[in-house]
Assembly symmetry: C2
């Protein structure tokens, strides 16, 4: 069973709509308080931080946000900057842009800003991340491995920010054909729940342990906890993966997944 | 529960190795009797039938086959040709090349040759098919639909040759990211077991209802028979698929799947 540790996360599979209805980004804005929101955008993942920040600044201001900070983090010193920590502590919505997940963890891991995020998570401030910003949410994250057939190209993993525990997130999921690498990731330790999120799709994980899907595509939940057949011990000798039976939940908007009970159902509030 | 109706099928996910160890094609050759084999290659799927036939003729002759016929089928008249029917009835191994699955069913469906195949299937003559030749094996086959997110681009289906019932096969599976369309296919009727086969990978379905994986990649078995949450009734109004929980078996060489009991295990003879 997943240990659930309270928080309010919006995990976005990348390429969320920024032109039309902006369902996902507006959901974040509303959860952060709407007109009362104080939003921090963290661009640490991007090597063109200024540009990435500008896109989201324009969007959130267009929605009506008047209190917005862009935190461009270029070094670990920035991650320890008291100015930045003060800014993040007064925010009620934090948004991680996309890019490279290792840039986020390398620059924030163990810094004052990293610790501040943990505090805000425990205080249930909404924390959102798209693409690389989605991958860093959990304690383990996938950083590479593109093999289409599970096991062929062993995935590479690294420690994430550790906000939500016992899950592993993959993004751009259907678009980049990543089912193989997510299956491999959960095979390594079937305790971990795999969450594959399509582009323009998000899962909102609430403090009650319920995960709600919003957006255009699908979230695929991979639960390997009842696996009886596995050859994962042979994977690193070049074998192709065997893993069965795996329970998969294919969920689109309007459906919920209970992380503790590991069951899906229709969202009656939808 | 799947009704199992006896036969001996080698269903190949396409692009099987023809250069090196030729594991899959040699398996077919041995199952057809090795040096005693009398092989018919049916090129109906291909619009360059002569070429497709030559490739397999050269290969099987190289393995040691001395009795080999290439059946190039261009019209339904060919499918009713007594000469062809006589040839296929004396064979002990039949091989369908790749191409377009609709060419096979349109030219063979309901012909004398189509009926002969059913007789040979009941007599447990090994029948192999690669790519399009794999898709036609079952009673329902997928002929199109490339949406990466399940439901986005509704799949198109057509009646197959109907040798094995209650399953639906997809090929080039991991390579073309087809998990979404296989999930959609089984969602339409969860009675049907989905079998997604990677390139250079095959499942050998034997008369005892056991499916054995051979080759380099993975066969993914999708069992939706215990689904409790589904929105398949809304799919044709443009909704994205919801389907949960789905039982998935990721199987590589050396593993078996029991189609009747729907369980996986290691092949003790491997």
């Amino acid at each position: 069973m997943i240990e659930h540790n309270h928080g309010n996360l919006l995990i976005i599979g990348g390429a969320e709509d920024k032109q039309n209805e902006c369902t996902i980004l507006k959901h974040f804005y509303q959860e952060a308080g709407g007109r009362d929101s104080r939003i921090c955008v963290i661009t640490a993942a991007s090597n063109t931080a200024g540009q990435a920040g500008k896109v989201y600044e324009d969007l959130f201001r267009r929605f009506g946000c008047t209190d917005l900070e862009i935190l461009n983090i270029y070094t670990r010193n920035d991650g320890n900057s008291q100015v930045m920590v003060d800014k993040i502590f007064r925010s009620n919505g934090i948004f991680f842009t996309g890019g490279d997940q290792l840039r986020i963890t390398a620059m924030l891991g163990g810094t004052a800003l990293g610790k501040a995020l943990q505090h805000l998570y425990e205080r249930k401030v909404i924390i959102a991340g798209t693409s690389a910003g989605a991958s860093v949410m959990s304690d383990n994250m996938i950083i590479g491995g593109q093999g289409d057939t599970p096991g062929e190209d062993i995935i590479r993993m690294a420690p994430g920010l550790g906000l939500i525990r016992g899950v592993i997130v993959d993004q751009h999921f259907a678009q980049r054909g990543r089912i193989g690498r997510l299956l491999t990731a959960v095979a390594l330790n079937p305790y971990v729940l795999g969450i594959g999120i399509d582009e323009d799709t998000a899962v909102h994980v609430r403090a009650d342990g319920k995960l709600r899907v919003i957006g255009r595509g699908t979230a695929l939940i991979v639960d390997a906890s009842n696996v009886t057949v596995s050859n994962v011990d042979e994977l690193f000798t070049g074998r192709t993966l065997t893993l069965a039976p795996v329970k998969v939940h294919v969920l689109s908007r309007g459906y919920l997944f209970d992380i503790v009970e590991r069951v899906s159902y229709q969202d009656s509030t939808f």
